[in-house]
C-alpha cells in the first residue's frame, strides 16, 4: 500500500491574537478533507448559538470549556491531518504573551514552524517572540506566512516590505531554512491552491512546502547515543540468558558488531544483536525504539548510555543552559531542583543566573537576581551525578533537559544545554 511510505511531519503554528491562525488551521484541515461532517455541524450549531452569522472555525480548535467561553486558546492543542504524501501533526499553540511556555512546548518536538504575520500590521512584538523561540528550540524549518493579503489588495510591495523586515530581524537568529509565502487563509489563496490574485508570487503554496520540505536530515545520524530505558530479562527457558537493553535511539546509526562503550562505567563491548520489535535488524537509527544485546555480560541499568567507543558525549556535573521558566514562582540562584535528562534523573542546584534574554530585542540583561515565568535565561547548573550530554545545537534529544520542582513535582523549566 502506498500509505506505507508516508513520512510524519510535526509542525507548530504560532500567531498573535486575531492574525488568523485558527482560520489557517481550519483551512488546512478543511481543504485536506480532514474535518468530518458532524464536526462541521457541531461548530455551525455553536456558532449560531453564539449569535455569529459565520462559521467560527476556531471552535474546531478550542476544546476546553474555558477556552470556548473566553474565545481564546489556553493550551497546546494537537491536530492531525494527512494528504496522500504526508501525515501531519500540528501543535497549535496560543500566541498570548503569557504563554511562551506553550510555544516552547509545541516547538520542542517540531520539524517546522509556521509563523503568521498579519499583512496589515506587519512585524509585531509577538512575531519577534515566535521567530526567536523557533530559533532557540532549533526547529529546522520555518515558513513565514504573510496572511490577510486580501485586506491589502494583494499588494506585492507590502509583502516585500514585511519579508525584508523579517529577514533583517532573523539574520540575528539561527534558523537554517526560512520560506516566505503571501496567503489569505480566509479565502484559501496559496494555502492549498495557488492564488490567482497574486501572479507576482512565483513560489509554491503552503501545502506544497509542507508536503515536500526535506526532513530526513533533521535528526543527528552521526553521533551514536542510546540512553537505556529499561532492561528486558524474560527469565524463560527459551530466553534464559537474554538481557536486552531497551531504549530509543537518540543519535547515530547502530549496527551489530559495533564496538561500544557504556557510560558511566566505561566498560566496552560489542553489539551482538539489535532487535526491532522482536526482529533482528542490520542497522538502527533515530527515532527507533529497539533492544540491544551485547557480547559481554556487563551491569547496565536505566539511565546509562551506550555510545561508540571513539565518539563519546560530554560527561560533566557542571553545565550551562538556556532555560525557559514555566513556574509562577520565580527562579532564584541556589535553588535545589530535580533534573530529568534522557533517561537519567537526579538532584541539581541552579547555581547562578548569568543573564536574561530580552525576547524582543535579543539583548542580554545582566546582573539579575531572579527569573520569572515565561522568561528565558542562561543559568549554570550543578548536578548530583554526571550527565552524558551533547550541546542542544548538536542533538536536540541529548542536549535538552527539564527542571522539576522537588516539592510540587511540577515541571518548572525547559532547558537547552549550551555547554
Amino acid at each position: 500500500m502506498k500509505s506505507q511510505n508516508i513520512q510524519l511531519l510535526r509542525f507548530t503554528t504560532a500567531g498573535s491574537v486575531d492574525d488568523g491562525k485558527s482560520t489557517l488551521i481550519g483551512r488546512l484541515l478543511y481543504d485536506s478533507k480532514s474535518i468530518f461532517q458532524d464536526q462541521i455541524d457541531a461548530v455551525e450549531e455553536s456558532s449560531k448559538n453564539k449569535g455569529f452569522d459565520y462559521i467560527d472555525l476556531s471552535l474546531l480548535t478550542d476544546g476546553l470549556k474555558s477556552e470556548r467561553e473566553q474565545g481564546i486558546t489556553i493550551d497546546v492543542a494537537y491536530r492531525y491531518f494527512a494528504t496522500p504524501k504526508r501525515k501531519f501533526i500540528i501543535a497549535d499553540t496560543p500566541g498570548h504573551i503569557q504563554y511562551t511556555r506553550n510555544m516552547v512546548t509545541g516547538a520542542s518536538t517540531a520539524n517546522l514552524a509556521i509563523i503568521l504575520i498579519d499583512a496589515r500590521k506587519g512585524m509585531q512584538e509577538q512575531t519577534h517572540r515566535h521567530a526567536f523561540i523557533a530559533s532557540l528550540l532549533r526547529i529546522p524549518h520555518a515558513i513565514v506566512c504573510v496572511n490577510k493579503m486580501d485586506l491589502v489588495n494583494f499588494d506585492e510591495k507590502i509583502y516585500d516590505n514585511i519579508v525584508s523586515e523579517f529577514k533583517a530581524f532573523s539574520s540575528k537568529l539561527d534558523i537554517k531554512d526560512i520560506q516566505f509565502i503571501p496567503i489569505s487563509a480566509l479565502d484559501g489563496d496559496n494555502v492549498v491552491n495557488r492564488s490567482t490574485n497574486m501572479e507576482w508570487y512565483e513560489g509554491s503554496t503552503l501545502m506544497y512546502h509542507l508536503e515536500n520540505v526535506h526532513i530526513s536530515s533533521d535528526y543527528n545520524h552521526l553521533d551514536c547515543r542510546f540512553p537505556v530505558q529499561t532492561v528486558i530479562r524474560p527469565h524463560t527457558l527459551e530466553h534464559q540468558d537474554y538481557r536486552g537493553f531497551a531504549g530509543r535511539i537518540d543519535g547515530g546509526i547502530f549496527k551489530p558488531g559495533d564496538k561500544v562503550k557504556i557510560l558511566p562505567s566505561g566498560f566496552t563491548s560489542t553489539i551482538k544483536k539489535i532487535d526491532l520489535n522482536g526482529i533482528a535488524v542490520e542497522e538502527a537509527f533515530t527515532p527507533m525504539s529497539v533492544n540491544i544485546t551485547l557480547d559481554d555480560e556487563i551491569d547496565i541499568s536505566r539511565g546509562d548510555m551506550i555510545v561508540r567507543e571513539n565518539n563519546v558525549p560530554e560527561v560533566s556535573q557542571d553545565l550551562e543552559v538556556l532555560v525557559t521558566w514555566m513556574s509562577q514562582n520565580p527562579l532564584q540562584p541556589r535553588t535545589k531542583v530535580v533534573v530529568k535528562h534522557t533517561t537519567r534523573e537526579c538532584i541539581a542546584m541552579i547555581k547562578e543566573i548569568i543573564y536574561k534574554v530580552d525576547i524582543n530585542t535579543l539583548h542580554r540583561i545582566e546582573n539579575i537576581n531572579f527569573v520569572e515565568m515565561n522568561d528565558i535565561a542562561r543559568v549554570s547548573i550543578r548536578t548530583s551525578k554526571p550527565l552524558f550530554y551533547d550541546t542542544y545545537k548538536k542533538n536536540r534529544q541529548t542536549g535538552s533537559l527539564i527542571i522539576i520542582d522537588e516539592q510540587t513535582n511540577e515541571t518548572i523549566g525547559a532547558a537547552m544545554i549550551i555547554r
Binding site: 508516508i6 476544546g63 494527512a82 511556555r101 529499561t230 527469565h235 522482536g278 533537559l401
Partner: protein, 301 residues
C-alpha cells in the same frame, strides 16, 4: 534504508513503545486499561512488542459495565490467556449492588458515567499508580489537550488548565502519595493510523468491527443493537440490518454503521470516504458540548 527515514506508522509505533517502556520504568504499579475496543487491543499489541521476548510486565484492567457485547468479553478472555498476563476486572454491577452508585433510569439510561466510580475504586484497591489507556487526541476536542503523562490528583480528577508542560520526549511522572497518572501512548494516532497499523501487523479484532447481520433499533439517528439492556420506546421497531462498529463501548450507547465492509481493506476504504467522526455514534458524547471534558475531570478514561 539508506535514506534513514522511517514511515509514519513505524514512527508512531516507536513513540508508543518508548512511552510504554517509560511507564514500566517510572511507576511501581502500572496497569493497562483494556476496554475490548480496537484502540486498547492495539495498545496491548504495542505493549507486547515493547517488552518482547519478555511478557507484558503489568496486568490488564477491564471495567466491566455488565452491558458489554458478549463478543468483547470472549475476545478479552482469549487474549489474556494467550499473553499470559493477569486480568483485573472492576465490576459496575457490583458497585450498583453495593450501593456505591445509583443506576440511571429511563429509556436512554447508560452505565457509561458509572464506570468512573468503579475505575477509581479499582485503581485504589490495587494501589495502581499509572493506568495507561488507548485514548487518542483526534477522537474528541477535550482529548486534543491531553498530555501523554496526565496527572490525576488524589481524587482522580483531571485539571485541564493546570497541566504539566511536556517537552521533547522527557516525561515527568513524579507524584505525591495517593495521586496517579493516566498515560496515553497512542495519543498521536488517528483512526486511520490505527486501522492501517492493524492491517500492517495483522492484529486480530473482535468480529464486531466487521460487517454482520444484527437486530437493531434506530434511535435519534443512531443505530443501536437490540439487546436485553435496551428498552424500546413507543414507535420504535426492531429490524435486521447489515452493520459494523467503528468503536466499541456499551451495547446500549454504541452506534453501529450500515456497512458491508468485511475485511480490513474494505474497512480502511470505507473510513477514507466517511464524513463523520468515529465518536459521532456515541450517545455518551452527545449529552453536552463538553460532555467528555466534564467526565474526564471527574476521572473518566
Amino acid at each position: 534504508m539508506t535514506n534513514y527515514v522511517i514511515t509514519h506508522l513505524r514512527e508512531l509505533e516507536s513513540e508508543a513503545i518508548f512511552v510504554i517502556r517509560e511507564i514500566a520504568a517510572q511507576f511501581e504499579n502500572p496497569v493497562l486499561l483494556f476496554s475490548g475496543g480496537k484502540d486498547s487491543i492495539l495498545l496491548t499489541h504495542l505493549a507486547k512488542k515493547a517488552f518482547f521476548p519478555a511478557k507484558i510486565p503489568f496486568p490488564l484492567v477491564h471495567i466491566d459495565t455488565g452491558h458489554n457485547f458478549p463478543e468483547t468479553i470472549d475476545f478479552r478472555d482469549n487474549l489474556v490467556k494467550k499473553l499470559g498476563v493477569k486480568l483485573i476486572v472492576g465490576s459496575v454491577q457490583n458497585a450498583i449492588d453495593n450501593g456505591r452508585v445509583i443506576e440511571e433510569s429511563g429509556a436512554n439510561a447508560s452505565r457509561n458515567s458509572l464506570q468512573i466510580v468503579s475505575l477509581l475504586d479499582t485503581l485504589e484497591e490495587h494501589k495502581i499508580d499509572a493506568a495507561m489507556g488507548g485514548a487518542r487526541r483526534d477522537e474528541e476536542k477535550a482529548r486534543a489537550k491531553e498530555r501523554f503523562f496526565s496527572h490525576r490528583d488524589e481524587f482522580g480528577q483531571w485539571d485541564p488548565k493546570n497541566q504539566r508542560p511536556e517537552l521533547w520526549n522527557l516525561f515527568n511522572g513524579r507524584k505525591h502519595f495517593g495521586e496517579h497518572f493516566r498515560v496515553f501512548p497512542i495519543s498521536n494516532w488517528t483512526e486511520m493510523d490505527v486501522w492501517e497499523y492493524i492491517k500492517l501487523e495483522n492484529i486480530e479484532l473482535p468480529s464486531l468491527y466487521f460487517s454482520h447481520e444484527r437486530e437493531c433499533v434506530l434511535r435519534d439517528g443512531v443505530i443501536l443493537a437490540n439487546s436485553k439492556f435496551i428498552k424500546l420506546k413507543k414507535g420504535e421497531e426492531v429490524r435486521t440490518m447489515t452493520v459494523r462498529y467503528r468503536t466499541c463501548g456499551d451495547m446500549p450507547i454504541t452506534g453501529a454503521v450500515e456497512s458491508t465492509a468485511n475485511s480490513l481493506d474494505q474497512v480502511i476504504k470505507e473510513i477514507s470516504y466517511t464524513r463523520t467522526t468515529e465518536r459521532g455514534g456515541r450517545a455518551d458524547d452527545k449529552r453536552a458540548e463538553t460532555a467528555m471534558e466534564d467526565r474526564k475531570k471527574q476521572g473518566y478514561f
